[in-house]
Structure formats: C-alpha cells, structure tokens
C-alpha cells in the first residue's frame, strides 16, 4: 500500500510537471515573444519596473493631477510578479508569455494540490482529471485578454484554502496551523488590493457554502460541534489576515476617517447602479451557467439568448449543433455523482461541492430572473452588498471550482459504468475512457486554444499587440526628466471625448492613458479619472490649443504646471494632432526638443513650477466651478464655501445667475406620470396610506409645506389612477380616487392664494406645472381613447373635473404663454458680496437665427422694486465668448434682469418623404433635419394636425452615436394622438453629430399634418462678476524640490505679509505641511499638529494660508505614507509570528 502511495506521489509529481510544461508551451503559442498584452482596463504595465516603483508610494504622481494610492498597496505582490515575469521574459512590459504561464500554472498547481487532497475521498484518478478543468474554462479565459491577475490570484487562494479546510476537517491540521496557512494563502494571493474587495465575492461564497453545509448537517443531527470548529477557523484566519495586511490597511485608515474614502469608492467601486447589475446579469441564466456559459459579453443586451455579433467566438455556441449538444451533456455528467456515489465520504464531498455549485450559481446569475429578485433585494438592502455590481465576474470562480470537481467525479463514475457494462476491467481502457471525457471538456472549450479568439474583446479589437519601439523610448525620456523639474507632459490629442479611451493606430486601446502604464513621469490628458473641474481646465487647454490662441495656451500651461506638449500622430484622432502641430509651429514660445517616431515633444519656454504663492483670489460657488477656466484673467480661484476662511485675500467673485423663467419650459418634456403604485385603493392596506396622508395634512402648519403635500398627494393619487386604469381595477375605486384629487386640487387653489410671492413666482409655477402637466397629459391621453365613452358617468365626470381644475390652476400664476417665455428670459441677482458689478453673457448659449448666427437680445432690462432701467451690451471681451453688460452702482440684491429676444426661427428643414424601416416595422415618413444643429442645444418639436384618425410617430436618428446598445438605431419618442398642438422636447446625446427627424404614419399613408416646426429651447448663461478692493501685501519667492512622489521641500524667501501657498497636486486633506527645523511630530500622537490644506485652489489644488515672515523651508508630505511604513513593520512582525506559530504547531 505504502509502495503504491509512493508510486502515486511520484506519478502525480511527474503529471503536474508535465501539465505545467504544456502550459508553458501554450503560453508561447498564445503570446509570441515580440507580442505584448496591453490595453483595455488591464493595468498590465508597459514598464513593469516603473509601475512597481509607483506602488511603493501612497500618492501616484503619474496621472494628471495625481491620485491617492493608499488603497493600492496590496497590489505590490501582483506587480512584483509582473516585474519578475518581465525579468524572466527579458521584456520591459508585464503582458508577456511568462506572466500568462505563471498565473495559469499557479492555478494548475493549486488545483493539483486540492485534487491530491480530494483524491483520498474520490480516488486517485480524480487528482489527474480535476486540475486541467479548473484551468481550461470560459470563466478563466473570458478575462485572459486583460490577464486579470487579481482574479486569478484569488482563485489560487480559494483552491489552497479548500485544501486546508479538508485537511483541517480530517484533523490533519491543527486549528492554529490551518488558520495560519489560510491567512498566508490569502496574504500572498490577495486579489490585488483593498479596492479589489468585490473580487472576494467568490471566497465569501466558499465560506458561506462551508457554513451552510455544516449547518444543514448540524440541523439534521442536532450537533453543532463542527460548526463551532469551522467558525473558529474563519475567525482566527480573519484575525491573522488583518495583522498580515497591516501594510495595506493602515494607510487607508485616515482616508476612512476623513471620509475621502467615500469619494474614492464612489468613483471606483460603489457606482451604485442597478442598471449595470442588470446589464451584467442579462445572459447569466441558470441554464447558461449549467452549460458553462453565461459570460455577459457573449449576449446581445436585453435578449439574453442571442449572441453578441461583435463577440469573437460566442456565435459558435449558439449555432453549432455539436457544441450546443455538448453543452447539455457536460452538466448531465457533472451531476451524475449525486445519483451514483455510494461511498459515504465521497457523498459528503460531492454534496459539499453541489452546495457550493448552487450557491455560486445563484449569486453568479445576479438579477437575472427568476431568482434575481432575491439578489436585487440583497443589493438594495444588505449594507455593503452593492459592491457586487458585476455578479458573474465576482462569484463565478467558486462555480468554476465546484463544477470542475463535479464533472471530474461524474466522469470517473461514467467511465466505471461503461467499463462495467462492456465488462472490460483494464486500467488502459478505463484511462482511455476518462481521457475521452477530458477531451470532451477541452473540445467544448476549443476556442480557448486559438490566440486570436481569446485576446480579442470584440471582433477587430484586441489586446495582443506589437508596441512600436518609439513608445518605450518616449517613456524612458519621461523617466529621465530631472526630479526637481518633473512637471507635467500634456498628451495631444487627448483621449476620446465620449469613450475616454486612449487609442492608437497600432492597435492599443485603453481606458487608462498610455503614460499611466509606461512611465513614472507625470502625463496629463482629458482622461477618465479627472474630476469635473479638472476636466474643465484640461478641455479648455485643448480647445485653446486647437483654436491657435497662444496667449491663453501659455496662461493655461503655466496654471496647470505643464512644461511639455507631446504630439501623437499615431493617435486614432490624428486630425487633431495635425491641427495642434500646425498651431504650435506658429507659436513663439514652443520649441521642438525630441522626436520619437510618430511622437514629437515640444518644450514651453516659460517654465512653470508645481508650487506658487499668491495673495489675491476669486471665488465661485462650488457647483459652478466650471466658470474658473472661462475667466482666466481673474487669477486663482476658490469656492465661495472655502472663501470664508480667507476673506482678506478675496478680490472678486463670480456667480452664474439662474434663468428663472426658463424653468417653466421644462414641463413640456413631461409626457405622463411615470411610476406605478403597488398599494391601490382596493388593497386592505390602503387605509394606512390614507390615514398617514390625512395626518400629514393636518399636522402641516406652514402653508408652503401644505402646498407641497397637496402637490405630492395629487401626483401619487394620479399614479394610482393610472395604475388602476392600466390593470383594469373596477371603476368605483378609480372614481373615488379622482374625487379625492378634485378635492385636493380645490384645497390647493386656496393654499396658493396664501403662499404666492412675487420673488419666487417662477419657481412656484415651475413646481406646480412640473407636477400637474404629467397628470394632465396622462388623463388627456385616456380621455382621447375610444373606450372612455363607455366608462361609468361618475368616472367621466370626475376625470373631466380634474382636467378642468388643472387648467384653472396652471393659469394661476399668470405666467405668460410658452411663446413669450421663449422670448423673454428673467434672472434674479442674488449676490451682494462685491462693491461693483458687471454681467457677462455667454454668446455660445444664445439662440441661432435662420442663417446660423447668434441672436443677441434686442432689449435688456434691469427690474428693481422701484423702477425699470434699460441696459446695454458692452464691447465684446477678449475671450470673445463673453459679452459684458455694465450694471449701475445702485443695483440691489434681488433685482431682476430680463433679456428680450426676437422670436426664435423654425429650424426644421424638410428633406424627403419616403418609406422607412424601423425595428418595429416599416412606416411612411416625412424626413428632415435641424438647421445649424448643435449638440449642446435643446430643441422643441411642435406638430399640429387636424386628422386624429392617423397614428403619427416621432423618431430621431443621431449620427455619430457610439453607444453600443443604440448604434445607428433611430429611437422612438412619442405617439401623436391629439389634435391639440403636440410639443416634444429633444436634447441631443453628447455624441450626436447630426440628427434626422422622422414624422411617420403607422397606418400606411404619408403623415397628414398641418405644420411641423422645430424651435430652440435656450437658457442664456449670465454671469455676475463682483469686485472689491483689498490691501494686498508683498509676495515671497518660492522654489520647490520634489524629494519623492509624496514629499516636497519648498524654500520661501522674503516673506513679509500673509499669503496663500499652493501645491499643484489634486487636493487631499492628507497633504500635510510642516515648517522645517520645527520638531516633526509622531504621526500617531501628534497628528493634529500638522497643517492640512485649508482651501481648494482652482477647484483641484491644495492651498495653505501662511502667516510667517522671513526666509524658511516648508515640507509638504502625504501623510498615509507614514502609516505605510508603520504597516510594513506590523506586517513583517506578523509574518514572523505566524511562521513561528506554524513551526510550533506542527
């Protein structure tokens, strides 16, 4: 027996070695020596050493304005492997053949270890069959194009953890030893970093399955000793893990305390979007998972059963009869073990993996029906569960392990069954049959072995590339820039404005800009991770560069600390590159200093530095930070909210005035009441709803609160009426509800008389119309229907009564007609912080006339409480975008400005009449376009017709749409049923280059209409600038030296008066300033002695108010780095401790 075991061990070792050798050969085939896996959102660095270096710092300077790196220390292990793999492969990049081999073989070896352990229950053949199934499956290979190491590492950890669990259960390992080994497995194969916590979904499922399995067993036997034992293992493992991971947990603690982690998570992980969960779950039906499919990218959205035509290989599994048949045979074999296993130990193992399988299937299928409602419930109500917004990707690794176990065991049973039937008991025959099952599995996954398939994320777009050498040369040049002048390099052209992808003609396409993976030198572009304010600045710079305005370009590059421009002619937006190159050739202050193939580097002669001192600042409201880049001459900005801390420096303020009358044009877009109500008047629970309603109305003392309550209740009851009409509730319930609405409308009329205020007239009218217009539209549509005539008389009376009351109330505020609103725009001056004022009118927000020219207001009026005064437009400012209007000195707060425009022209341009084919069928249409179409504008379509027998539909088709769901598909807007003028608001998508408008008749004829007009809905931007005089002092001289990415040393000379010191890095309260030679406090005990930045400068940078005179040095450091050093110490001590425990508890 011993001899046999020894032989098995040797044979198994040889098998594992052979297996890894096969993987090595395959890795060579998949990734040839000169090819690179790069791009998409892989994080596979083109320079793995630089990337690894950047991970040692809590602040990452490489991208644009810098970013907090403290949640990413955990990725040090992954990036160390990247670097080591690049050393072995002899490349600079991490996406090489050895890295692919490393991770696949790590999974194979871990699976072999688990297979070896399970072979004591399921037989020795199991150990040979199981490992390749864990490696070759669609779950693993759907992400190989980005070599998702974080996911792979956790798969390894799970396989090792399961081995430890089974050993622990068999008492081959003590509790301490098992906990230490489990913690070490998850410590080394840690899934990347703290931001990768959602990837632990699968590990959580494994833990849950273990608990569930023992709980069910405990319930059957009423003995829970093993449950407690398992809980002790989990608890102790968790404790060890926390200490081992101190190096990545500690630096993140300040972020949690100051709440900046919420911002971080909201941008990276917690984008709480149920729509996204639904999208990911659209193809993950339980049957798809049984069939080893369910990869979201395989399916056409909303079909769930049709292949995505863009997917490189999904179509084979929907059309090939052989593959379809195989997809149903594989699960039958997998679940054979449940019926045929006889041995007690074997049964236990199979039931455990079956539980793991079904639990992981439930979670992997996400919100897909029928069980998706449970997942939706957890997503909505279980705190923290909403991090799992991509269910398949987070939970399916547990499924891939369990189905591999079940299939291996099922194959062994099936092979035994066959050998018994044919009565040949021969090892070779038995192994041959088993190999056939393995081939069946591999044959089903045949596409995996075709390199072009697995590295393409859609047909024609992949991540397996040949990167031109000049790209690496440019990266090296950026690395070589001296540290003390490591200022930003602007990449021109920027990334795609819609998809935010950085793409090149040689095939690279990535959601993170290329410099992020290429170099340590900081690059800047309009990349995805910018905040809105940062994007405003960068977009402004690009537009000035393409517009050829050197003066503004110079101002902006200095402001944004940019010293080089890198023009990329190999970008897919090469036209912009050539425009920029032509303009730079004309600029005097720019000089070409380097050429790397298709890339050219220009140096800006006027150097900037990343720190500056100033003593004048302008303010804007925080939500209007986009104004900053529009008024460059105002100097540095801060938000109005922050300005209270630095009032002595504030010299001007900007305020975007609200166009109050424009609010009233919005209700036009409300088609009807949208939401549906669950508890209706015919429900026994409705009495509680009514009771609550009457109590709220009774307790409302304030009339304005009462008005809001009435509006809310009217709307809610209208949705009840709509729901009841839709589902066919008996008429008396609807009539009663309508009666109550009528009563509320009448009460509302009385309340309005008490609350009307001239200053808030437009706002109140807006609220009223916003609530009542959808109700009116809903009921009007119902009245126009043929079956209305056959309804109960009381219902008809009440419904018409509601419509009458709404019409009466809509006219209550005596607001002029829609046409008048379109021509007269009213603003209220709300600021009183300055001593003199100027208004600026944004000419780009003005309407166009028939020839496409901007239409200026024909009259401007200042309306004070006492008198009206005419104002006039001043000369156009140098920015040309803004026209100024001087205000008189006696202007009072709450005065109004009215801009009066000539009537807007009809912009509809009739093109043709023809039959169009839509997804819903063909229709005869009138086709036209919008003259002088602009993406940023809003339009209103007005259709009048006297013929209500026809069924008219309105469609829009936008060209330039890159949205994969609606590409080149016209979208249906609304059906026109009524003979009153039909009005429809239309806001083009941001990517629309032009729009075709279709008015179609569904009944087979061409549309019979009286008029079709398109007018612009516009709200001119009016900015109020207030200025005041301040006593300004003398500014000191500042020079800066960067000691490391997280530390700056600033020399201040001749400081006499207070000033603001700004560091041109993204704002974080964790940037700490200390004066040199002062005692640097211990971070734990004297944390508060550091000075945090007090203001956000220009909407993104850090600003400190300094009131110290003389010559001195200032040190600015990023605090989480200190904690990283402490964490490293704790982690190292923990490693020593667990190794000691491991040795002691042998």
């Amino acid at each position: 027996m011993k001899r046999f075991t020894k032989r098995f061990r040797s044979a198994y070792l040889v098998y594992v070695l052979l297996g890894t050798l096969v993987l090595l050969l395959l890795s060579f085939v998949w990734v040839p020596k000169d090819s690179v896996i790069a791009g998409h959102d892989s994080g596979l660095p083109l320079n793995s050493l630089d990337f690894l270096k950047s991970r040692f710092y809590a602040w990452d300077n490489r991208t644009s304005f810098g970013v907090d790196n403290s949640p990413l220390f955990g990725s040090l292990t992954l990036h160390s492997v990247d670097y080591l793999s690049s050393l072995v492969a002899g490349t600079a990049y991490a996406g090489n053949w050895f890295n692919v081999f490393f991770w696949l073989s790590a999974i194979f070896i871990a699976a072999s270890i688990l297979g070896r352990e399970l072979s004591s229950y399921l037989g020795k053949r199991f150990a040979f069959l199981f490992p390749p199934l864990v490696v070759f499956n669609f779950y693993l290979f759907q992400s190989i194009f980005i070599l998702e190491r974080a996911k792979y590492s956790l798969l390894v950890a799970q396989l090792l953890f399961l081995t430890i669990y089974f050993k622990f259960l068999k008492e081959k390992l003590s509790l301490i030893r098992a906990a230490v080994l489990s913690a070490l497995a998850f410590f080394v194969f840690n899934g990347g970093a703290l931001l990768g916590i959602p990837l632990y979904g699968s590990a959580i499922i494994v833990v849950a399955a273990i608990l569930l399995f023992h709980l069910i067993g405990g319930l059957a036997t009423h003995r829970f000793r093993v449950v407690w034992k398992i809980l002790s293992l989990f608890g102790l493992t968790f404790l060890f893990l926390v200490f081992l991971n101190a190096y990545q947990i500690l630096p993140y603690v300040p972020g949690i305390i100051d709440k900046s982690f919420i911002l971080h998570l909201s941008s990276k992980v917690l984008v709480i979007s149920k729509d996204w969960v639904n999208y990911i779950s659209h193809g993950t039906s339980l049957l798809s998972l049984f069939r080893l499919q369910g990869v979201p990218s395989w399916y056409t959205y909303n079909s769930g059963v049709l292949p995505d035509p863009d997917h490189p290989y999904a179509k084979f599994y929907f059309t090939n009869v052989f593959l379809i048949t195989l997809s149903f045979i594989l699960p039958i074999i997998a679940f054979l073990g449940m019926a045929l296993t006889k041995k007690r130990e074997g049964k236990k193992i199979i039931y455990f993996f079956a539980i793991l399988c079904f639990l992981s299937m439930f979670f992997s299928s996400g919100t897909h029906p029928p069980l998706g409602s449970f997942y939706g419930f957890l997503y909505d109500y279980l705190p923290g569960f909403n991090i799992f917004r991509t269910p398949y990707y987070k939970f399916a690794s547990a499924y891939s392990i369990s189905i591999a176990v079940l299939f291996s065991w099922g194959s062994i049973l099936a092979s035994d069954l066959i050998t018994r039937r044919v009565k040949i008991k021969n090892v070779i025959v038995s192994s041959g049959i088993l190999s056939l099952f393995l081939l069946m599995w591999l044959g089903y996954h045949w596409v995996i072995f075709i390199p072009r398939n697995i590295f393409d994320w859609k047909i024609g777009s992949g991540t397996l590339l040949k990167v031109p050498s000049y790209v690496f040369d440019a990266g090296r040049w950026m690395d070589s820039l001296p540290r003390n002048s490591r200022d930003r390099v602007l990449f021109v052209p920027g990334v795609d404005e819609v998809s935010f992808a950085d793409s090149y003609k040689w095939g690279y396409w990535s959601l993170s800009p290329i410099y992020y993976s290429l170099t340590l030198g900081p690059g800047i572009s309009n990349e995805l991770s910018l905040t809105d304010t940062e994007r405003g600045w960068v977009d402004k710079l690009y537009s000035e560069l393409y517009g050829g305005n050197e003066e503004n370009v110079v101002t902006l590059v200095r402001r944004l600390n940019i010293n080089y421009l890198l023009i990329r002619s190999d970008s897919t937006t090469e036209d912009k590159a050539s425009v920029a190159k032509d303009n730079i050739a004309k600029f005097e202050g720019f000089q070409r200093v380097q050429t790397f193939g298709e890339w050219e580097v220009y140096k800006i002669s006027e150097e900037s530095q990343s720190a500056s001192a100033f003593n004048q600042i302008s303010t804007v409201p925080q939500k209007e930070s986009y104004l900053m880049s529009n008024f460059l001459s105002e100097g540095p900005f801060t938000s109005q909210e922050d300005s209270t801390k630095i009032t002595r420096f504030v010299t001007s303020s900007l305020d975007d005035l609200n166009c109050e009358s424009c609010l009233l044009e919005q209700p036009l877009n409300q088609s009807g009441v949208g939401t549906s109500v669950r508890i209706l008047p015919n429900s026994p629970l409705y009495v509680f709803k009514e009771k609550k309603e009457s109590l709220l109305l009774k307790d409302a003392k304030d009339t304005s609160v009462k008005r809001d309550f009435y509006l809310g209740f009217i709307y809610r009851r209208a949705t009840e009426v709509k729901t009841m009409l839709d589902i066919g509730t008996p008429d008396p319930y609807i009539t009663e509800d309508l009666k109550k609405i009528n009563q509320y409308l009448s009460d509302l009329g009385n309340v309005l008389k008490e609350t009307t205020n001239e200053d808030t007239k437009y706002f109140q009218a807006h609220q009223l119309l916003l609530t009542l217009t959808p109700i009116k539209n809903t009921l009007q549509a119902y009245v126009a229907r043929g079956d209305f005539a056959f309804k109960d008389d009381n219902l008809k009376k009440e419904m018409l009564g509601v419509l009458w009351s709404i019409n009466q109330l809509s006219g209550y505020y005596n607001i002029d007609s829609t046409e008048k609103l379109r021509e007269e725009k009213v603003y209220t001056i709300s600021s009183d912080s300055g001593s003199s004022y100027i208004l600026y009118l944004n000419t780009q927000t003005l309407p166009s006339n028939k020839t496409g020219e901007r239409q200026l207001p024909k009259k401007i009026e200042l309306i004070n409480s006492t008198q009206n005064q005419s104002l006039s437009l001043q000369n156009i400012s140098k920015d040309e975008k803004w026209v100024s209007i001087n205000l008189p000195e006696n202007v009072t707060k709450n005065a109004r400005v009215a801009l009066k425009f000539p009537p807007t022209p009809d912009l509809f341009e009739l093109l043709t009449k023809k039959e169009e084919y839509f997804p819903t069928g063909s229709q005869r249409c009138v086709e036209g376009r919008i003259s002088h179409f602009e993406t940023s504008k809003s339009y209103e379509v007005i259709v009048t017709t006297h013929n209500i027998r026809q069924e008219l539909n309105l469609f829009f088709n936008e060209t330039g749409n890159v949205d994969e769901f609606f590409k080149n598909e016209p979208y249906y807007i609304s059906q026109i049923k009524s003979n009153v003028p039909f009005r429809q608001g239309y806001k083009p998508s941001s990517f629309a280059k032009d729009t075709t408008v279709y008015l179609c008749n569904k009944n087979g004829d061409y549309p019979d209409y009286d008029s079709l007009e398109i007018h612009e809905i516009f709200a001119p931007q009016l900015v109020l600038r207030g200025t005041k005089q301040q006593n300004l002092g003398i500014l000191p001289q500042v020079s800066i030296q960067q000691a490391s990415p997280i530390k700056y040393i600033l020399s201040i000379k001749n400081a006499k008066d207070p000033y603001i010191l700004s560091l041109n890095n993204r704002y974080s309260p964790l940037w700490k300033l200390t004066f040199a030679n002062s005692k640097v406090p211990n971070p734990f005990f004297s944390y508060s002695k550091f000075i945090s930045p007090q203001v956000v400068v220009d909407g993104y940078a850090n600003g400190w108010v300094i009131d110290k005179s003389g010559d001195y040095q200032v040190i600015i450091e990023y605090f989480p780095q200190e904690l990283f050093y402490v964490g490293i110490f704790v982690s190292a001590a923990s490693v020593l401790l667990v190794l000691f425990l491991l040795n002691k508890h042998k």
Partner: protein
Amino acid sequence: MKYEDIEAKFYKWAYLNRIRIAIFFVSYLTLYVLSDLPYINLYFPRSIVPLVGLFIGVFILKIPIRKIFLITSGLFLVCLMLTLLGWPGKAESLGNFIYALFLAATIKGIFSQAGKEKQKAKLPM
C-alpha cells in the same frame, strides 16, 4: 412495464402519500397567496412560486435523489431539443426547474447523509 402497471403503481403511490400530497397542495397554495401580498410580491414574484413549490415538493413527497437525477437528465435533453428548435427562452425557463430540483436533491442528500451518520454515531457533521 405495462401501462396498467404504471397506472396501478401511481394510484398506489398517491393513496399511500395522500396526506403528503394534500400538504404539498396547501403549501403550494400558501406560496401562491404569499406571492400576491403587497411588498412580499416585490421580492417573491409569482414566477418563483413553481420553483419554490418544486423545491419543497421534493421534501414533502420524499422523492428519491436517483429519481430526481433521472428527471433532471430528461429535462436537460428537453432543453437541448428546445434550444435546437430555436426556443432558447423556453429552454431557459425549464433550466430554472432543473436548478430547483438539483438544489432540493443536494439539501435532501446532506440531511439523509447526516442522519445516517448520526445513526452510526461515527463522525458528527
């Protein structure tokens, strides 16, 4: 086996399990009513009722695991036919029943396994 034998076997089974069948119907009805209650119906829609009904039916009617495997294998083949015939949606619906049956079989298996172990008083689960 002749048709008459199957019929006789079924009647015999139905008679012996009459109480279980009644309990099953009452349970199913309860689930049906539950799926109609406000708020509960948001997360327990009617489409789940047959699945949960099938799940509890396996326990109430004491269906052996081997038979469940046979039924599910048959259902897999039906799903295959439906998919080949171009009705993937119908196959998907049937797949949900397979899941419910397998899940019930697994839990039933763990229970019976643990029960047997308790009897033998060997290893606790």
